[in-house]
């Protein structure tokens, strides 16, 4: 349904008048919500305390304590100003940014209100957000590699799961790095299977992905049930330890949040930058995107569509394999049945929410990672919201994005359509 999205120029998305006004009203609504739901009922003397040191860190920072009511008033006022500006003038192509600002102000308002009278470890929460976003962002990068070349990959989940297991087994009998390498290779192998099925045999790409997902759940649970529970020595690879970046790691607050992680977090940031550069600044990336947008034109210009797609899908598989290794080698150091628990599909959601760009995927990954981290620390708050509802947010947001409520994404035009050189479309 690309016809419904009108793009004027690259990067400049046309925002309709109606959408501008509706969004303005939504922003004002958020301001009203903060005012009515949070500001009114609160005791003016109440304060909120935020800890700025995550657990285990040695960089001391004093707790941040502020008056809850005045903070909420400032936030509500800020939202109202943004809403009024959006309603009258509109943010144009910065609408997304304004939306993000409103969203974070609302979340912050909610947290200040919910933690008023108590204490919330903001730093710990943000640190966990980064960690939880790793498989989501890396998985989304896998999806981006495949889909930018025109092959839909809903098998991220299956690839991650298989790689998580292979990495554990190989890592247990050799060492962590070889385990990581074999996880990447396992993902690449499943990528190859996906490529052969969907490019060579022109199987429907969604069905091919479903095959991999069902197969992965089956084979990993089978091997885990048959061997790994019986022989614990092949299910004990150890984990990659956090590494503190010199100097940067000592920065108060930001240091422990950003620069004291294991290699997966750093790799995520590295791959996001690398892939952004490769996709949008190199000939390689231009060709890959051409194959995903208009394979026939690309073919006419002498680009080998099949080869490009094979490469993209195999690389995507390897990326998913790397993401899968996070679950075992980067997190718990043990493989459990179906341990990815749908993260591959949240990664798919992050890819869509990030509009098929690496940086966008990381933003989406962080947002979804935040909801994950928030759900884990909900029990500490004064207000009881069921954590399950927070865990639903990635899915709901994705559906809203797809429906065009939060701005419509631009998927690669030939995404999901197999290429037929003879031209029978």
């Amino acid at each position: 349904m690309t016809a419904q999205t009108s793009t004027l120029q690259t990067g400049q998305v046309y925002v309709s008048q109606i959408r501008r006004r509706v969004l303005g009203l939504v922003f004002l609504g958020v301001a009203a919500l903060i005012w009515l739901a949070f500001v009114r009922g609160i005791d003016p003397e109440m304060t909120t305390k935020m800890r700025l040191v995550p657990g285990g860190s040695t960089v001391a920072v004093e707790d941040w304590e502020f008056n809850t009511q005045s903070a909420l008033q400032v936030l509500a006022f800020g939202c109202a100003v943004l809403g009024a500006y959006q309603l009258v003038r509109g943010f144009g192509r910065r609408t997304g940014l304004a939306f993000a600002l409103i969203g974070s102000m609302f979340v912050f308002a909610f947290l200040s209100w919910a933690a008023s009278g108590g204490m919330l470890n903001l730093a710990g929460m943000l640190r966990i957000m980064f960690i939880r976003s790793v498989p989501l962002t890396l998985g989304a990068l896998s999806g981006i590699l495949c889909e930018r070349a025109g092959v839909v990959n809903i098998a991220i989940e299956g690839m991650m799961l298989t790689a998580a297991m292979i990495g554990t087994i190989v890592g247990s009998v050799s060492n962590l790095w070889i385990g990581l390498l074999s996880a990447v290779l396992a993902g690449g192998l499943l990528g190859l299977v996906h490529a052969v099925m969907s490019i060579k045999y022109r199987t429907d790409q969604i069905i091919s992905g479903t095959v991999i997902n069902i197969f992965a759940v089956g084979i990993t649970s089978f091997i885990s049930g048959k061997f790994m529970q019986k022989y614990p020595q092949i299910n004990d690879p150890g984990i990659f330890r956090p590494y503190e970046v010199p100097v940067l790691g000592r920065i108060p607050f930001l240091g422990p949040v950003l620069f004291r992680h294991n290699i997966f977090v750093y790799a995520m940031i590295f791959f996001v930058i690398l892939l952004t550069f490769m996709l949008f600044k190199t000939r390689w990336g231009l060709r890959l995107r051409a194959v995903g947008e208009h394979p026939k034109a690309a073919d006419t210009l002498g680009i080998n569509v099949f080869k490009t797609r094979y490469m993209a899908v195999i690389l995507g598989g390897m990326m998913a394999g790397f993401a899968g290794a996070y679950f075992t080698l980067g997190s718990v150091g043990r493989f459990d049945q179906v341990m990815t628990a749908g993260r591959g599909f949240i990664a798919l959601a992050a890819m869509i929410f990030g509009n098929w760009t690496p940086a966008g995927a990381m933003v989406a990954g962080l947002i979804f990672g935040f909801s994950d981290s928030l759900a884990a620390s909900l029990a500490l708050l004064r207000v009881k919201i069921p954590s399950e509802f927070l865990l639903m947010t990635p899915y709901v947001i994705t559906m809203l994005v797809l429906a065009g409520v939060v701005g419509r994404g631009q998927m690669p035009a030939a995404d999901g359509t197999p290429y037929n050189k003879e031209g029978a479309a």
Binding site: M1, T2, A3, Q4, E147, V152, I154, M197, Y201, R202, T203, D204, I206, I207, S208, T210, V211, I212, N213, I214, F215, V217, G218, I219, S221, F222, I223, G225, K226, F227, G342, F345, I346, L348, A349, I352, P386, E388, F389, L391, M392, Y395, V396, T398, M399, L402, A403, G404, M411, P412, A413, A414, D415, G416, T417
Partner: protein, 416 residues
């Protein structure tokens, strides 16, 4: 080659040769060989995973391979004995004349039927989607919604006679599933949001919703586990035999619904409209059909069928809601619907196969220590072979069919 030459060549062939050529071109051969290959490869995996093979390998590789094959063969014997029961036991029980023993001996067959009922409903749901051009990956979530709705009706209302309570709870389940199909249908029709992504997301929303319901509002006060209260006796689908046979009315309901789906899709104007919209939306629009309405109706109906699968499991077998009542029926049913060529008759037959496999595999797990997950592997392989007939045709050196095989094609991600 001209026609005459072709005929002459054909005439020169033996009758057997012609027969094989016809068979190799027929459309039924691919599903059969796909099942066969899936079973064989599953056996290879079982053989490879038997520890005997590795301990023997150092002594004698040939012996090791033999042991592996033996392990695979024995597992399949256990599987099929588990699925159909053992004839010796049946005869002995009949001669003994003890009613309970007879029921025990014949129970495996009935249990296979019981296990195939949810597959029938779920398979019909996916098949109806395919026939109307929609890929409903959300069957699993719709099963859960159906389960939630039917169980709630099942334990909340008291004092209703069974003749009212059972259909009421069952239809509530269908409604729950329909609601979960309606939302992605509406989004697809009105905004173009692809149903594959939306139904995947709806699955996880349903799972989280179930988690929450079982932790708070619907949790049974009598249990420490996250399960719902047991439904009233009046809401249970009646069973035909005393314990241990669990064979219940749901089987016949499923057959009736399959017939109804066949009649609806292929014999009514509405069904024709839906199929036309699925096959060629552009032509349907020119013919004046309402695509928005068709998409919504098709997704809701598909969801309703999936919801019935959930209702059936909970009203007929489990009698209470838990997080694990569906071992992935919704995902398996994608393979199942394609195996049955998205035709109600094919779906019923494939469901019987899948139910038998699952029942047998449960017994195999208990008896031979082979995890039941092996059947997911087999189903994935069968799905791969069905979806890419070219693989099967290459492996078995079959000839190309005369007319192109209608492959499965989901309407593209990026429009078109």
């Amino acid at each position: 080659m001209t026609d005459a030459e072709g005929k002459a060549k054909k005439a020169g062939k033996s009758a057997v040769g012609i027969f094989f050529e016809e068979v190799s071109r027929s459309s039924l051969i691919v599903p059969i060989l796909a099942i066969f290959s899936g079973l064989v490869l599953g056996g290879v995996i079982v053989a490879l995973s038997s520890e005997d093979v590795y301990t023997m390998w150092a002594v004698s590789p040939i012996q090791a391979i033999g042991n592996g094959l033996k392990a695979a063969w024995e597992s399949y014997v256990t599987l099929f004995a588990g699925a159909f029961g053992s004839p010796a036991k049946m005869i002995a029980a009949l001669q003994g004349g003890d009613a309970l023993e007879i029921r025990r001996a014949f129970n495996p067959v009935f249990e296979s039927l019981v296990k195939s009922i949810p597959y029938m409903f779920a398979g019909l749901a996916v098949a109806l989607g395919f026939r109307t051009g929609l890929f409903n990956i959300g069957v699993e979530g719709q099963i859960f919604m159906g389960g939630i709705f039917s169980v709630w009706v099942g334990y909340t209302f008291t004092g209703l006679p069974a003749i009212i309570h059972v259909p009421f709870a069952f239809l509530a389940g269908a409604l729950g599933g329909a609601l979960w199909g309606f939302i992605p249908g509406l989004l697809k029709a009105k905004t173009g949001g692809h149903e594959v992504i939306n139904t995947i997301m709806m699955n996880y929303i349903a799972f989280r919703l179930t988690d929450w319901l079982l932790r708070e509002p619907m949790k049974s006060p009598a249990s420490t586990n996250p399960i719902s209260p047991v439904i009233q006796d009046s809401a249970m689908l009646p069973q035909f035999f005393p314990d241990p046979i669990r064979f219940h009315l749901g089987f016949f309901v499923a057959l009736a619904v399959a017939a109804l789906v066949y009649w609806f899709l292929f014999k009514t104007k509405w069904g024709f409209d839906l199929r036309t919209v699925g096959a060629n939306p552009r032509a349907a629009r020119y013919a004046g059909m309402n695509i928005v309405k068709s998409t919504i109706v098709a997704m809701s109906l598909s969801g309703a069928l999936a919801g019935m699968a959930g209702a059936n499991e909970l009203l007929g077998v489990n009698h209470h809601l838990s997080q694990t009542f569906s071992p992935g029926y919704g995902f398996d049913s994608i393979a199942l619907a394609l195996l049955g060529k998205s035709h109600p008759v094919g779906v019923v037959l494939s469901a019987l196969l899948f139910g038998t496999l699952r029942n047998g595999a449960t017994k195999m797990q208990a008896a031979a220590g082979i995890p039941i997950d092996i059947i997911s592997v087999m189903q994935a392989l069968i799905l791969a072979f069905i979806a890419a007939p070219a693989i099967i045709r290459t492996i078995f050196r079959l000839k190309e069919p005369k007319k192109a095989e209608p492959g499965v094609r989901v309407s593209g991600w990026g429009g078109s």
